[in-house]
């Protein structure tokens, strides 16, 4: 039986959905039945970020606003939950999120100065070996050592223009690079205090005092890192350098940071945020366990207009595509030409990639995200290839997109906040929903008589499906339901009831034309289906377009709209049509008192010929 099969599919859908609801959750029976509610209904957590600029002044209002937008984009990138991001006073940005979400709040204020720098020299980080006796001196928040340890000469994620199929070698594992990132933030407050009290001059003086004059002079005289494999003792005189902390290392000359073998990646990664942001200076940074000496930054984060994690059509690998602004594209082309042709042999042999071309490092804050070898002069959009998966590719793309935050932020304590509206509004909303639905049901019983039962049942069904979907989505993708969302769903249920009206009016037409109910139902269905699908397709288009394009609250709304529409279609196809088919087989269906459709047949025999349907008549 076809109608039976459709109903069975619907039942299966229900079972699966509610199994997900009950098995996916935790806590008591009632807890599992609770959708994730929004900031306005149950409150959440709130954290403020204080902006710091290089000179200690309050940032300009437009810069703060730009930062607010970037933080908002980051907050929204976590999903469709709605974050409230406002600026407060002249240097604070306050972020509020629904529910307990400390971890989500932690990374929002992270500075992200993006730079593209040519890799000039590369050396292995053997600070640990060099200072083996006093290894304990290194700060604790160490970079996670990657499996492809010291031996490999080139991390070879490779960039290529357009479709370029450079062999993506796996060693520059981007998943490992983000790991050190939390460590600066974790120790952020402590270091901020120190660096706040010490000027660069004082830091330099501190560093000199710790190291001692002799070692300092020797370090300044180094032209390249001493080869420890041939001369293990060479490191001894620099041993004291391993006792410098992040801020002190940061003020050293880049050459010294690079050449002194006892300055390790752990120390370099502990430099305060923004230490190597100056695009006009050369810099040292780490990738995996290699120290990279980097050229001045010729392309900045602000030159990138867009970045996306995409699946490469040819190779089937995840890559990060980069679009540059008009001006940025020129700079990028110039940089890649310089790297590809290796003009004036600026890149050291150690820094060349597999194919003998220079590499360009993508530097975010103090870390190298990736340093692909340039395999051609790139005049168009570019891709970063490597061993990405969808998560890491999108993560990197997100960092690149938001990599232009012009300020650095200190995070303050995370606090809980109560709801802005509270439960009385939630109750009022649900009451409104009840009243609205009741009115719709009364109206449909009045108008369609017994067919009103079908409408009533499908409303209940839609309601249950929406509810289940909300709970599951709240868990899976963090969809939060605010009061506006609840209201939206109420309205969408009403709009969904419209597809009934289309169907039943069609049915009325067919019956008026003298068909038997049994043959009228499939005919009316075939014609109503077309209308319902095209009308719903439009709503769905609105939802999809708004979801893709918009941000923040509007994105959440678009999601709700799309969800409601899809569920409406499910109910139409899997419930209403089969039920009506079964209904049409019963004798009661034709009775005017029962179905509300029979009324069109009343007095019909006498009226039919005189029916003034021909428009011509009214013209006369």
């Amino acid at each position: 039986m076809r109608p039976g099969r459709q109903l069975a599919v619907l039942a299966l859908l229900f079972v699966v959905l509610y199994l997900l609801v009950f098995l996916g959750g935790s806590g008591s029976f009632m807890d599992r039945l609770e959708p994730k509610l929004g900031l306005d209904l149950i409150g959440g957590s709130r954290v403020s970020y204080t902006a710091t600029t290089a000179n200690g002044q309050a940032p300009q209002a437009d810069q703060l606003e730009e930062a607010r937008q970037i933080i908002e984009s980051r907050a929204n990138a976590y999903g469709v939950s709605e974050a409230e991001v406002v600026t407060e006073g002249d240097r604070n940005i306050v972020v509020s999120l629904a529910g307990e979400s400390d971890d989500a709040l932690a990374n929002l204020g992270q500075a992200a100065e993006l730079r593209f720098r040519k890799v000039i020299k590369v050396t292995v980080d053997n600070a640990a070996a060099a200072v083996a006796p006093s290894a304990s001196a290194t700060p604790s928040g160490t970079a996670a050592p990657t499996p492809s340890a010291a031996g490999t000469p080139t991390p070879s994620a490779s960039a290529s223009g357009g479709q370029g199929g450079g062999a993506p070698a796996p060693s520059a594992s981007p998943s490992a690079t983000p790991t050190p990132a939390p460590s600066p933030t974790g120790t952020g407050t402590a270091e901020a205090d120190q660096s706040g009290t010490r000027t660069p001059e004082q830091l330099l003086a501190d560093a000199k005092r710790k190291v001692g004059d002799a070692a300092w002079a020797a370090a300044a005289a180094l032209q390249s890192p001493p080869d420890l494999s041939t001369d293990p003792a060479a490191a001894a005189q620099f041993e004291k350098f391993s006792t410098l902390d992040g801020p002190e290392v940061a003020v050293l000359d880049p050459n010294m940071q690079y050449n002194v073998p006892t300055i390790g990646c752990a120390q370099l990664n502990a430099r305060p945020p923004g230490s190597i942001q100056d695009p006009a200076k050369q810099a040292v940074s780490c990738e995996a366990s290699q120290k990279l000496f980097l050229d001045v930054a010729k392309v900045l984060g602000t030159d990138v207009s867009d970045a996306n994690g995409v699946l490469d059509q040819q190779g089937g690998d995840w890559v990060v595509s980069l679009d540059f602004t008009g001006d940025g594209q020129k700079k990028w082309t110039a940089l890649t030409r310089e790297a590809y042709e290796n003009t004036s042999g600026a890149c050291d042999a150690s820094a060349l990639g597999d194919q003998g071309k220079c590499r360009v490092a993508v530097v975010l804050d103090n870390e190298v995200i990736s340093s692909p070898e340039i395999q051609g002069v790139l005049t168009g959009d570019s891709q970063i290839t490597g061993s990405f998966n969808s998560k890491t590719a999108n993560e990197l793309a997100g960092k690149l997109r938001y990599g232009a935050l012009p300020l650095t932020f200190t995070q303050n304590e995370v606090q809980n906040v109560s709801a802005t509206l509270g439960t009385e509004h939630l109750k009022a909303g649900l009451l409104a929903a009840g009243i609205g639905m009741l009115l719709v049901v009364i109206y449909s019983f009045f108008y369609y008589r017994l067919l009103g039962t079908v409408i009533f049942l499908s409303l209940v069904l839609s309601g249950l499906l929406v509810f289940g979907a909300l709970i599951v989505l709240g868990r899976q993708i963090g969809y939060t339901l605010n009061l506006a969302g609840i209201a939206g769903f109420i309205v969408s249920l009403g709009v969904a009831a419209d597809s009934f009206v289309i169907y039943f009016e069609r049915l009325k037409d067919e019956i008026r034309e003298g068909r038997s109910p049994r043959s009228a139902v499939p005919r009316a269905w075939a014609r109503a289906r077309r209308t319902i699908i095209s009308a719903n397709a439009i709503t769905l288009m609105a939802a999809v377009v708004l979801y893709i394009v918009s941000v923040g609250t509007v994105k959440g709304f678009a999601f709700a709209l799309g969800l409601a529409t899809v569920l409406d279609l499910v109910v139409v196809f899997l419930f209403r049509h089969p039920i009506m088919t079964m209904f049409a087989r019963t004798r009661a269906f034709l009775s005017p008192r029962v179905s509300g459709l029979g009324r069109v047949l009343e007095k019909e025999p006498g009226e039919q010929p005189a029916k003034p349907r021909n428009p011509r008549v009214k013209e006369a």
């Binding site: 607010r68 509004h425 009022a428 609205g436 209201a487 009403g494 009308a535 609250t553 509007v554």
Partner: protein
Amino acid sequence: MSGLATRLYKGQADLNIVGKRKIWFTVAAVAVLIAVVSFFARGFTLGIEFSGGNEFQVPASVGTLQHAEETVEEALAEAPNPGGDPLRVASTQQVGGGEGTYLIRTSEMEPEQSEAVKQHLVEAFGIPAGEISNSRVSGAWGAQVTERALLGLVIFVAVVMLYLIVRFEWRMAAAAVSSLLFDLLLTAGVYSLVGFEITPSTIIGFLTILGFALYDVVVVFDKVQENTRGITASSSQTYAEAANLAVNQTLMRSINTGLVALLPVGGLLFIGAGLLGAGTLRDLGLVLFVGMGIAVYSSIFFATPVLTTLKGYEPKYQAHTQRVLARRAAIARGDVTPKTARSPKQSAPAQPRDDAEVAALAGAAPKVGARPTAKRPSGNRGGRSGSRPRGGKRH
């Protein structure tokens, strides 16, 4: 049931909506004009979420949150207010547990106003001024959100236009989209004119109307398309009449849809405004009520008349209209026997053809021969004014 209600129920109201389109266009033009003038003259009243506001932080030791809120409201009422816009509390929150602070956001204020409010609070709570902090907060709804939402709107209109062109044809697409724009413009106009505050909920409601308005139009156009399929093969009905018939046939559905959709919205509005005063529910209910009401109106009185007018410029239909009118004139003169006994159901595609043959054979209509030439553009240039007599006959 009265006569009209019964006829509505049976889809036989026979209201001449398309024929009187000049009236509807005049009404629409006046409404749009008023809306546009209001945009420039009055602008919009933006909520704190857009324009930003002030935030007072008060230690929780002063009492309950409600007490704090009431005190702030009092202070706002007493603050000097030369601008005239009423100051109000936008939201209240408690931060941190136990001995936390209360966070009270208010409308945007001038520095002297907020200083006055703070002074009032210091006296009312009896705490030192240092414990009350007062700062300016920005809107949570950044310009970016608005920009992206508008971009989304533009893309949506483009995509939906394409879809409608594929699904129907470009004239229907143009009519549907113009009806959508008409809804949006008028809804915004009502907001500007009455001075309702615009909040994020309003914008959300506004976007909900997008789908609803087009949905309604698509349903009507679907029927129009069905009624006018192969209409040029027959001489019994002009395009305008067939379109009018479609509007009448879907009229009950439009009314039903309007009611079914507006009932829950009415519930929201009633509960939102009645029980809670200002707030999300009222804002959303209001914009939906206004927007959907206008959408139902425009799907009947705007979209189809626009479509018929556009169709009136199509040579094929111009010629057809002339032929129909000519045939009617012939019937009036008694040259041709009208076939009134036949049921005029549009669902019998076979019959109209012999209808047309009768007309052709009768040869009474001066332009019967126009049928084969109708597709040639040259023959139709002169026929442009041919749609006039039809209009003239109506009045």
